[in-house]
Amino acid sequence: MNDLTYIKPQNLQEALAELSKKNEATYILAGGTDILISLKEGNIKPQYLLDISELSEIKGIKQEGEYLVFGAATTMQSIAESPIVKEKLPCLVSAAIQMASPQIRVRATIAGNLVTGSPIADTVPMFRALDTVLEIQGTGKKREVKLDDFILGYRKVDLAAGEMVTAFKVPLLKANQKANFIKVGRRNALAISVLNMAVKLTFAADKTVESARVVLGGVAATSVRAKNLEAFLTGKKMTEEVVLEAGNVVLQDATPIGDIRATAEGRKVLLSSRMVRLLEEFIN
């Protein structure tokens, strides 16, 4: 038996202080739905578990100017139930509600989903497509980083020792913007996605696409921006032909791999066809 110590700080200040005092064997515990499995399987050997799941400073959702700000320890369930998210960013409700099972959603947090760094984390593509900015804190310091830049590689993120993610700042959609998410899983409940994808389009007055953000999950070691597809869509009107062609273009952005959940060829077909389905909602 290793000597693990469980610490439950009373507020964010205390949590950050603990995080800076301790060493590399200090792990943040949020919903525990990833980390407790790693702990049981012996993949990690923490000395300290710092439970941040009930810190009120980093829970909950509020509007601040042009942003909807999500505390990092906000759960999938609270997103799914939030009237303000339903009204302003229903695409995030759609991502949160398709994750796992009710028992998991009530514990699982958005920061846990992100920091775990799984290439198929369900909320990451949507937050990325929405151009989310993360707020990160260490003792006495606070910084902001774009979610796009935070993800460095397979299970690697831009967090220094002593730092934690404290908030997700999501720009509200403007009248000329639209966003949506789609998940392709083998089973609805509990399926870790085979693929997931998120899109945000900004339209010019003449209904051509002014800018596009498209993020794919499950096709590479991390979620990726579909840069070719974004360039293809920019300047075009969203017609049936454009959407069909987009299903081909997206294959330039991804080299899906085969694994136990799907073959590489199967993933390609899925990627094309689901991208078409996702973009069909943007035809105007």
Binding site: M1, L36, P102, Q103, I104, V106
Partner: protein
């Protein structure tokens, strides 16, 4: 070891637990409440479902220390004065129980739903038990049992 106290099936209990011990292991091994079933131990099957502060959770994915100061309901807590809870009775009446392994979890998931929302739709019922796997029944009778309680 760490000392915790929490409300278990409406009674205050005090327990000493290891920091890495799960709520599931504490219930089954320290408190002898074996109605909470141990299946996959990784959040997949829902056999270990209990109600924690009003929400259905997988007790295999909660640490025992985390329930300090909270309220936990297990299947043993449903029967009152020798009378089965209406949900338990409905599962029997509708023939929703075969081997029974998944049933405590199923009942607690549906109880968490009905406590919050006494008039759920069929879709809400199906969602509420979507994290509970049953190898025997095909879910039809289970959904019927829960539906029979809708107000």
């Amino acid at each position: 070891m760490q000392n915790i106290s929490f409300t278990l099936n409406d009674k205050l209990v005090k327990v000493s637990v290891e920091p890495q011990e799960t709520l599931l292991d504490m219930l089954r091994e320290r408190l002898d409440l074996t109605g909470t079933k141990k299946g996959c131990e990784k959040g997949d099957c829902g056999a270990c479902t209990v109600i924690l502060d009003g929400e259905a959770v997988n007790s295999c994915l909660v640490l025992a220390v985390q329930v300090d100061g909270k309220s936990v309901t297990t299947i043993e807590g449903l029967e009152k004065d020798g009378e089965l809870d209406p949900i338990q009775q409905a599962f029997i009446d509708k023939g929703a129980v075969q081997c029974g392994y998944c049933i405590p979890g199923m009942i607690l998931s549906s109880k968490a739903l009905l406590d919050k929302n006494p008039s759920p739709t069929e879709e809400e019922i199906r969602t509420s038990i979507s994290g509970n796997l049953c190898r025997c029944t095909g879910y039809v009778q289970i959904v019927d049992a829960i539906k029979s309680l809708v107000k």
